[in-house]
C-alpha cells in the first residue's frame, strides 16, 4: 500500500516535471520560430525584384535571386541634413556608416572608460567622498527624472556640444549607471597586495593603475565596451535630436523607412536590403564575441 502511494507520488512528480518543461520548451520554440520566420522572410524579400516579383509574390521564394537591391541600397541610400552654413547636404551610405561608427565608438569608449576609472578610484581609495559617489550612483539609478531632455539640449547648445560628434562623447562620459557598480565590484574584489607591492617598488599611483590594475580589468572593459558599442550603434533617438547635421546610419534608417525619398529607395525590398546592411557590423561582432556578450555580468539587488 505504502509502496503504491510512493509510486503515485513519484509518478505525479515526473508528470509535473515533464509538463512544466514541455510548456517552457514549447514557448521557447515558438519564440525562436517567430524570429526565424521574420528574418527569413526579410532576407528572401531583399533578393526579390521589387516590381516584377515582390509586388505579386510577397511570401514565396524569389523567381530570380537578384542582388540589385543591395547595390541600390549602397549607392542610392541617402538622407539630406542641414550643414553649418545653413544649407542642406546629401549624406550617402559611406558617410552614414562613418558617422555611425564615430558616434558609437567614441561614446562607447567614453561611457566605459569613465565608470572604469571612477570605479577603480572609489574602490581602492576608501575616502568618505568615495562612499558619496557610490550613493549618488545608486540614488540616480532609482530616482526617475522625467522630461529633462529640453534642458539637456539647452545645456549642449550653451556649451557648443550640440550637433558635434565629439560633443556627444563628452555628454556620454559619465559614471552613472550599472557599469560603475560592475567595475567597482571588480576592483573591490582584487587584492590590495598588488598595489602595496607596486608602491614598495616605487611605483606612482598613476603607474600602478595603468600598468597593474587596469590590465586586470581588460576582459571586463572589453565586454562592457562591446555592449556599449552595440547599444550606441543601434541608437537613433539620441542622435536624431542631438546630431541633426551628422546623421548616423541608424538615424537614416529611421528617416527612410517611412519616407518616399529617395525615389529609388521607395520600394520595400531595397529598404530591407539597407536594413540588412546596417546589421552587418553588429552581426560580425556578435558572431566573433558572443561568448563574451553572453558572459557573466551579474547584478544583485539595489541597496540604499
Amino acid at each position: 500500500m505504502r509502496k503504491n502511494v510512493l509510486k503515485g507520488i513519484e509518478h505525479k512528480k515526473r508528470k509535473e516535471t515533464s509538463v512544466f518543461s514541455i510548456i517552457i520548451v514549447a514557448l521557447l520554440l515558438l519564440y525562436c520560430l517567430t524570429l526565424v520566420i521574420l528574418f527569413s522572410w526579410a532576407i528572401i524579400a531583399s533578393f526579390k525584384n521589387p516590381l516584377l516579383d515582390f509586388e505579386i509574390n510577397k511570401v514565396g521564394l524569389p523567381k530570380e535571386w537578384i542582388f540589385d537591391n543591395y547595390l541600390t541600397a549602397y549607392n542610392e541610400f541617402y538622407v539630406e541634413a542641414p550643414v553649418s552654413d545653413g544649407t542642406t547636404a546629401i549624406f550617402g551610405m559611406p558617410m552614414l556608416f562613418l558617422y555611425g561608427f564615430l558616434y558609437a565608438f567614441g561614446c562607447a569608449f567614453a561611457a566605459t572608460l569613465i565608470p572604469c576609472l571612477v570605479g577603480y578610484v572609489t574602490a581602492k581609495f576608501q575616502f568618505k567622498f568615495s562612499k558619496l559617489i557610490y550613493l549618488i550612483v545608486i540614488v540616480t539609478m532609482i530616482v526617475p527624472i522625467v522630461g529633462n531632455l529640453p534642458a539637456e539640449i539647452a545645456m549642449a547648445k550653451s556649451l557648443n556640444l550640440y550637433d558635434q560628434i565629439w560633443g556627444m562623447w563628452i555628454m556620454k562620459a559619465n559614471f552613472l549607471g550599472i557599469y560603475f557598480i560592475v567595475f567597482y565590484n571588480f576592483f573591490r574584489s582584487q587584492p590590495d597586495a598588488y598595489i602595496e607591492a607596486a608602491k614598495i617598488d616605487g611605483s606612482s599611483n598613476f603607474r600602478t593603475m595603468v600598468q597593474i590594475m587596469l590590465p586586470m580589468a581588460m576582459p571586463l572593459f572589453f565586454t562592457v565596451m562591446l555592449i556599449n558599442f552595440i547599444s550606441f550603434w543601434n541608437d537613433y533617438q539620441v542622435p536624431l535630436i542631438y546630431l541633426p547635421g551628422h546623421p548616423t546610419i541608424a538615424v537614416a534608417m529611421a528617416t527612410i523607412k517611412d519616407s518616399a525619398y529617395p525615389q529609388s529607395m521607395r520600394n520595400i525590398p531595397s529598404k530591407i536590403a539597407a536594413a540588412m546592411l546596417m546589421l552587418v557590423p553588429v552581426l560580425v561582432l556578435f558572431l566573433a564575441f558572443h561568448k563574451k556578450l553572453l558572459g557573466n555580468l551579474t547584478m544583485g539587488g539595489i541597496k540604499g
Binding site: P150, M171, K271, T298
Partner: protein, 306 residues
C-alpha cells in the same frame, strides 16, 4: 587600498582622477536637472528689438499651469492610461516568460545555448531594423498569406484599430528578453547547489524548485528590474516610435512617446521648453514617490531566502 594615513600624493591622484567625471556630473546631471526645474517656472519670448532677435525671460507658474492643463486633457489621460496598461501587460507577461526561460537556461537543458542566443539577439540588433522588418512583415506578408491560403482580403494588423495595440505589445515583449534573461539566469546560477540538492531530496520537482527555491533566491534581482520598470512607466514608448515614427495611432500613444515626439519637434524652439520641463516636473513628482514606494513594498513584503 584601505589606508591608515592619508598621503598628499594619494589625495592629488584622487582629485585629478575624479575632476573630469565630477565636473561632467555637475554639468549634465545637477546642471541639467536644475535648469529643467528653472525652465518649469520661466516664460521665454523671442522678441525683435532694433532689428536684433533677443530672448526675454520672465518667471511665473504659468508653464506649470499650462502643463497641468495639457496633462489633464482627455487625450493625455488616455495616454496615461495606456502607459499604465502597457506597463502592466509588458511587465507581468514579459517578466513571467523571462523567468521561465531563464530557469530553462539555468538548468542547462537541451538546446539551452541556442535559446539563449535567440533570446539575446533582439537586444543586439538595431531596434529600428527590427521594427522595420516587423512592420513590413505585418503590413505585407501576413495579409498576403491570408489572401493566398484562406482567400481573405484583410488590412494590416498594425493599421486595423482592433488589433494594432495588441500587435505593438506583442512586438515589445518579443524584443524585451535579452538583458532580463541574461541577468535572471546568471542570478540563478549563483544559488547554492546545496539548497537545490536538499530540496530535491525532500521531493521537490522542477515546478517546486522554480517557485520555492529560485524565485525567493533571486528576488533582489527581480526587485531591481521591478523598480526600473516602475520608474519607466512614464518614459516607456513601447516601441511606438520605432514602428510608426511620429504618427502612431492616437489610442496607442503613451506619455513617454508623447514627450519624446514633442521634444523632438521642439528641439530648436526654446520658448516651448518651459511647458515640456513643467510636464516633466509634474510627472517626476508622481514617478519618484511611486518608485520609492515600490522599492519599499517589495523589500518589506517580498519573499525572503529563508
Amino acid at each position: 587600498m584601505r589606508q591608515q594615513k592619508i598621503h598628499a600624493k594619494d589625495v592629488i591622484f584622487y582629485v585629478v582622477m575624479l575632476a573630469f567625471p565630477i565636473a561632467q556630473f555637475c554639468l549634465f546631471y545637477i546642471g541639467v536637472n536644475g535648469r529643467s526645474f528653472l525652465y518649469a517656472f520661466q516664460n521665454i519670448e523671442i522678441v525683435q528689438e532694433g532689428g536684433i532677435l533677443s530672448r526675454r525671460v520672465t518667471y511665473s507658474i504659468q508653464p506649470l499651469v499650462d502643463a497641468f492643463e495639457d496633462l489633464t486633457t482627455s487625450e493625455s489621460l488616455q495616454m496615461l492610461l495606456m502607459s499604465i496598461v502597457s506597463f502592466l501587460l509588458t511587465y507581468f507577461i514579459g517578466t513571467s516568460l523571462a523567468l521561465f526561460f531563464s530557469y530553462f537556461i539555468y538548468k542547462k537543458l537541451p538546446l539551452g545555448s541556442m535559446f539563449k542566443v535567440f533570446l539575446f539577439l533582439p537586444s543586439i540588433l538595431s531596434a529600428i531594423v527590427m521594427a522595420t522588418i516587423f512592420r513590413f512583415f505585418v503590413d505585407e506578408a501576413i495579409p498576403a498569406m491570408q489572401n493566398e491560403w484562406f482567400h481573405e482580403t484583410v488590412t494590416s494588423m498594425l493599421a486595423d484599430k482592433a488589433t494594432r495595440y495588441g500587435v505593438v505589445i506583442f512586438y515589445h515583449i518579443l524584443i524585451s528578453f535579452g538583458t532580463s534573461v541574461l541577468m535572471y539566469s546568471n542570478a540563478m546560477s549563483g544559488v547554492s547547489t546545496e539548497i537545490v540538492e536538499a530540496a530535491k531530496i525532500d521531493g521537490c520537482g522542477q515546478f517546486g524548485e522554480f517557485f520555492h527555491i529560485m524565485l525567493p533566491s533571486i528576488f533582489p534581482t527581480i526587485t531591481t528590474f521591478a523598480i526600473t520598470s516602475v520608474a519607466a512607466i512614464f518614459t516607456n514608448q513601447i516601441s511606438l516610435f520605432a514602428i510608426y515614427g511620429n504618427s502612431a495611432p492616437v489610442e496607442t500613444r503613451t506619455l513617454g512617446y508623447f514627450l519624446y515626439v514633442r521634444t523632438l519637434a521642439s528641439a530648436n524652439k526654446e520658448p516651448e521648453y518651459p511647458v515640456l520641463c513643467a510636464m516633466g516636473l509634474i510627472i517626476s513628482s508622481v514617478a519618484i514617490p511611486l518608485t520609492l514606494l515600490t522599492k519599499y513594498l517589495l523589500e518589506k513584503y517580498g519573499p525572503s531566502e529563508d
